[in-house]
């Protein structure tokens, strides 16, 4: 079973009022010096069976392109969760 992680982010030129609201709240936490916050989505997809990681990544790309991200306003990346495990602390 392969798990693929899809990250969806608003394109840089698209206004992110949610991120701005979070950034504006940070001084209330006593945190200064944050110049920008942008909010995206992380989606984890689990594929049944097979161990063909490339095929699963391709399927995840199709899912992300057609449904998870709107290419008008968002970019996405796909990667295997195993790759993330080593990157995570």
């Amino acid at each position: 079973m392969a798990r693929v992680v899809v990250d969806v982010m608003l394109k840089p030129e698209i206004l992110d009022p949610q991120g701005q609201a979070v950034a504006n709240a940070l001084p209330n936490l006593g945190i200064e010096g944050v110049s920008a916050v942008r909010i995206g989505k992380r989606i984890e997809i689990e594929f049944a069976g097979g161990a063909d990681a490339d095929a699963d990544l391709d399927r995840a790309r199709v899912i992300a392109d057609r449904l998870l991200a709107n290419p008008v306003i968002e970019d996405f990346t796909v990667r295997l969760a195993d790759d993330l495990a080593s990157a995570d602390t």
Partner: protein, 233 residues
């Protein structure tokens, strides 16, 4: 004459849309999201609400519902389709209209009677309006900010496809004050405020919204409903 109104799980304004269709002079036909059949209707309204809970993005999941498969094919063949609020989002997600609708720039849900200026009437949904006419209809949205890249915005402007703009204050930060747009052929119109809530003095701030529904009835009755704008070009 029969005009279909689609109900998705989470649609809120399908009842008002059917009422508006009746006030406009047509029979309202309830269409179901899971039924890939238009039941011979002459036009379709995609109503406001929160289809599929607005999960992922407004309209993103509704766009893949069975009924939308047939709506998309029919719209490409010239069937008149009006998307209101969430319905506008569905039309953008289905790529029947360009651009996207994003969270209001100020993050507030806006619910108010809104003045719009009609800027283009080259559509079966707009024949009873005049260019430059002001109308007042309710706006109620949290994700109504129309965005598109500069080239698309220029194209919409040059091709006279901006149907209506906000005047007297932009309620959501929409680019170029866009409240409504149409496709190239003119049969598909998306509008963020709610004409179906402004069709009778008892229940709305005006009766200005009724014009969308009387326009389509007149256009279908006279056989001008399809590619009105395309025929002019």
């Amino acid at each position: 004459m029969r005009i279909g109104v689609v109900t998705f799980p989470g649609s809120l304004d399908d009842g008002d849309a059917r009422r508006a269709v009746r006030f406009g002079g047509a029979d309202a036909v309830a269409l179901w999201h899971g039924d890939a059949d238009l039941h011979g209707v002459d036009a379709v309204v995609l109503p406001g609400g929160f289809s599929y809970g607005d999960y992922l993005r407004g309209g993103a999941i509704a766009r893949f519902s069975p009924v939308m498969g047939v709506v998309i094919d029919a719209a490409r063949a010239g069937l008149p389709v009006l998307g209101i609020c969430n319905g506008f989002q569905v039309l953008c997600e289905a790529h029947l209209l360009p651009g996207a609708l994003t969270r209001n720039s100020h993050l507030h849900f806006r619910n108010r009677d809104q003045r719009l200026r009609i800027e283009s009437t080259d559509s079966a949904w707009l024949g009873d309006f005049g260019v430059g006419q002001d109308v007042v209809i309710p706006a109620k949205n949290g994700e109504g900010r129309f965005v598109a890249d500069a080239a698309t915005l220029d194209e919409l402007t040059v091709e006279n496809r901006i149907v209506a703009r906000y005047v007297g204050g932009n309620p959501n930060g929409s680019m170029r004050d866009i409240a409504a747009i149409r496709n190239e052929a003119g049969n598909v119109v998306g509008i963020m405020p709610h004409p179906e809530h402004a069709i009778a003095a008892l229940t709305g701030p005006s009766v200005d919204g009724l014009g969308f529904f009387t326009s389509i009835v007149r256009a279908v009755a006279t056989g001008r409903a399809g590619r009105m704008a395309g025929a002019r070009a």
